[in-house]
């Protein structure tokens, strides 16, 4: 086989470097005539058929997949609801594609993986600054699974006192379903508390929280984009019942809204991928931070600082006895592979923005939502925002005409918005689509 044909080959793996001579030499060294002899697989379970998967060259595949993905309509998305994106600078894309990061494994040999360990330690440290809580792990899959893990943690540390996890009545259905699966194998039960004009109905919550409550979950901003106003009271209510206060948020909102530690949060979960990761069909990065008290109950990997033989500061995975590879069925979680590379991206984006850049970006999320809701509210037959609250990135709009029909019209004109109910739409605006808000309002007006 010549060097040029190797890359085009479809009769074997193009990523196995063996020449025929090398293969022959290796087979001889092993003492067999063919690779088939090395498979100790009984005849009845051998596969002799065809999988029916055609091999294509790299060039063909790039063209084919680009053509496939081009079948997606080119819409300007005003979509949020638990999957948010902001502009990711090229330097983040570029540096995270370095193969030393991208193609490395979990840091079980810390001496040779100081670079990634330090990057993850920095990620944890950034979350500590943002949440005010002293312990942040180095990633969960996404916000929904992080919430599931938080409920399980609450169940363990408040085992003696009860079994109820309280969640808001208004929550993304997906998150509720994931949570239900995460507690399926436990004694935990999920209860809901009512909302008042988009936010926690604090007085009703106080009624709902009792001795059996192990965790109260609140989001800020909420799934409808409203900003909570009485979080410290929620913290006190939870604390009064010896329940954990779990706050769901995202990494941009954390730059501006009340610091979780200052309102008494025991666990913070949410989307860390709002920075660093562009829209990726729901791929995420779950942030998870908590108090020192629960350190040994934390799910997932933790990076700690230590010393090496030269007496220098060095980093290593730590407190691994919590984890599945050591503790097996008694582990705090089954998580092994996580979202480390996304955490690297998020940390880079945060350091790129700095605190002023982050506060500016978060401020923009408030201002853009306000001005877009005002503009939509000016249209006949539209009331926006529905909730008389401050909003972050997104808000509800009530429409006299059926919302699904309006959304379809908008789609035809190149815009995507959420349909929340028969007469409720949800619109999300960030730095990414802010330049298209006038066009959206125009299309909205036509659709009415």
């Amino acid at each position: 086989m010549t060097d040029t044909s190797r890359h085009e080959r479809t009769d074997g793996s193009p990523y196995a470097p063996h020449t025929s001579e090398e293969t022959a030499e290796m087979l001889a060294a092993v003492g067999v005539e063919s690779e088939a002899e090395l498979f100790d697989v009984p005849e009845p379970v051998r596969f002799d058929g065809e999988l029916g998967i055609d091999s294509r060259s790299e060039r063909e595949l790039r063209a084919e997949l680009s053509e496939t993905l081009a079948k997606n309509d080119d819409l300007t998305e005003f979509l949020g609801r638990d999957h948010h994106s902001h502009y990711v600078p090229s330097v983040v894309e570029d540096l995270t594609r370095r193969s030393e990061f991208l193609t490395s494994y979990t840091q079980y040999q810390p001496e040779i993986t100081q670079g990634f360990l330090q990057a993850l330690f920095e990620y944890q440290s950034l979350l500590v600054e943002l949440t005010g809580l002293p312990v942040a792990n180095c990633s969960m899959y996404d916000a929904a699974t992080a919430l599931g893990e938080a409920a399980r943690l609450a169940g363990r540390v408040r085992q003696a006192s009860g079994t109820t996890v309280l969640i808001p009545e208004i929550l993304h259905d997906n998150k509720r379903e994931v949570l239900a699966n995460y507690v399926d194998g436990t004694d935990l039960e999920i209860g809901t508390y009512p909302m008042d004009d988009g936010n926690v109905d604090v007085d009703a919550l106080a009624e709902h929280v009792g001795d059996e409550t192990v965790m109260v979950y609140v989001e800020n901003p909420t799934v409808r984009g409203t900003i909570e106003e009485r979080l410290a009271e929620v913290g006190e209510i939870a604390d009064g019942a010896d329940a954990l206060f779990c706050l769901g948020t995202d990494v941009v909102a954390l730059g501006l809204l009340e610091e979780p530690a200052s309102v008494g949060a025991d666990v913070v979960v949410g989307e860390a991928d709002a920075l660093g990761l562009p829209t990726a069909y729901g791929m995420g990065l779950g942030l998870f931070a908590t108090r020192e008290t629960f350190l040994r109950q934390v799910p997932g990997r933790l990076v700690g600082a230590g010393e090496d033989a030269a007496g220098k500061r060095a980093f290593t995975l730590t407190l691994q006895t919590r984890e599945q590879h050591i503790r097996k069925e008694r582990a705090t979680s089954n998580i092994c592979t996580n979202q480390a590379w996304v955490a690297l991206r998020t940390a880079m984006h945060l350091a790129y923005l700095g605190p002023d850049g982050l506060v500016d970006l978060a401020g923009q999320c408030v201002r853009e939502a306000e001005s877009l809701s005002e503009a939509l509210n000016g249209l006949r037959g539209v009331k926006a925002p529905v909730h008389e609250r401050h909003h972050f990135r997104e808000f509800l709009a009530r429409t006299d005409q059926p919302a699904p029909a309006i959304a379809r019209d908008l789609e035809t004109n190149g815009f995507a918005v959420h349909v929340v109910d028969d007469h409720l739409l949800q619109v999300c605006v960030t730095d990414v689509n802010a330049a298209q808000t006038d066009a959206l309002v125009e299309a909205f007006e036509e659709a009415l």
Binding site: S13, A16, L51, Q118, N181, E229, G354, A416
Partner: protein, 473 residues
Amino acid sequence: MNYDQARYGDEDRYEPLLSEKDTTSVDVDEASPLPEDLTRDSLELPRLSEPELARHYTRLSQMNWSVESGPYPLGSCTMKYNPSFTEDVAADPSGAVHPDRSDGTIQGTLELLYGLQDYLARIGGMDAVTLQPPAGAAGEFTGILVAKAYHEANDDERSEVIVPASAHGTNFASAAMAGYDVVELPSGEDGRVDLEALEAAVSEETAALMLTNPNTVGVFERDIEEIAEIVHDAGGLLYYDGANLNALLGQARPGDMGFDVMHYNVHKTFATPHGGGGPGAGPVGVTEELAEFLPSPQVREREGHYELYEPEQSIGKVHGYQGNWLVLVKAYAYIARLGDAGLKDAAAKAVLNANYLASQIDLDIPYGPFHHEFAATAGDRDAADVAKRMLDYGVHPPTTKWPEFVPEAMLTEPTEAESLDSLEDLADAFDSAMNDSTEEIESAPSKTTAGRIDQAAAARNPRLSWRALGEEE
């Protein structure tokens, strides 16, 4: 091989932390459009210029080992080469869509996912596949929840999952997370499942047996048909842990062996990058009778139109949306690049490489015949020390001290991506490290960025952020 890893820093530390390069504090109230009582007071974070940021992370990257740096033969991890073009495919901006888009506007995305469901079903010999689980362990959890839903739908509540002692730790943890009692099955003398022990372990409480095949010493469970019969006769399901699927691509299929449910580790078998610990993806394949219990949504095709739907008795969701899209795209591209012949060849070369490497080293390998990986024993030497010494020879060492039933185990999986020359470098590293003095191996490594790190001390005094480091000073 001569090797010295990059080592930036001064006498106290390696590359300074972001916070040691810059710390900036801002008064949030002043910059905020919100009433003061809804915002935090201040925020203190590092802020680096783009050139400083680029240099910081480039230096960190140089102090890190990767598949593209050299051999990375971690057993059960399948650290194969990750083709560059798959990154370009995943970066296609047309694929950057929000998951709440209506089906009709994301036909390309759905077509690709449908295609991957189909490819994986073919490779595993399964009838239906969900792509939602974001990692292998998430796949296990999903698969066990599907098994649980199946039993419950048959009014047949069961309380136990059987897991061989040699299984990956995630198996135990995933079964326990789903609410099952874990019954540990001791390994037979030949490293395989002991049929008598299995007969004794199964009962009407058995929901499933979780099995890796080839198992975690690379040995094929030759009795797989009998194993399937024993489990099925007891009314249990057979779960396939896909961590070692690379050994069997196109050569044998879990579905043909009697497995009812399986997960795939696309970040192992299908060459998507491990990213320093993730993201991966852990799709789950099932037989027809379990398909109705898969997570929602699934993708189906109707007259050329792709749509999402909820299986009738779906367990619901296991991820906030549809899993790790960027990873799934890369897996699709890899599988399509290889095709039938390439997949079969990948397994063949992976098995050849493991066997060739084994033939070139002086360590004993107690269990065989093995396939894509082998568990060598360091004998009277400490496997962890030998591994640290191997770092000085410019290779990454194998997985050490696991599985536990192999004394001083060095579980080695070179994958098909290592060349003959590279395998010889690895063999030299093994033998050199084994022959070095105890003093040399105990003081290793010296060529890596950091010297030996006292992990026990770090765990006794956890310092998990720069804030914690600052408070100490």
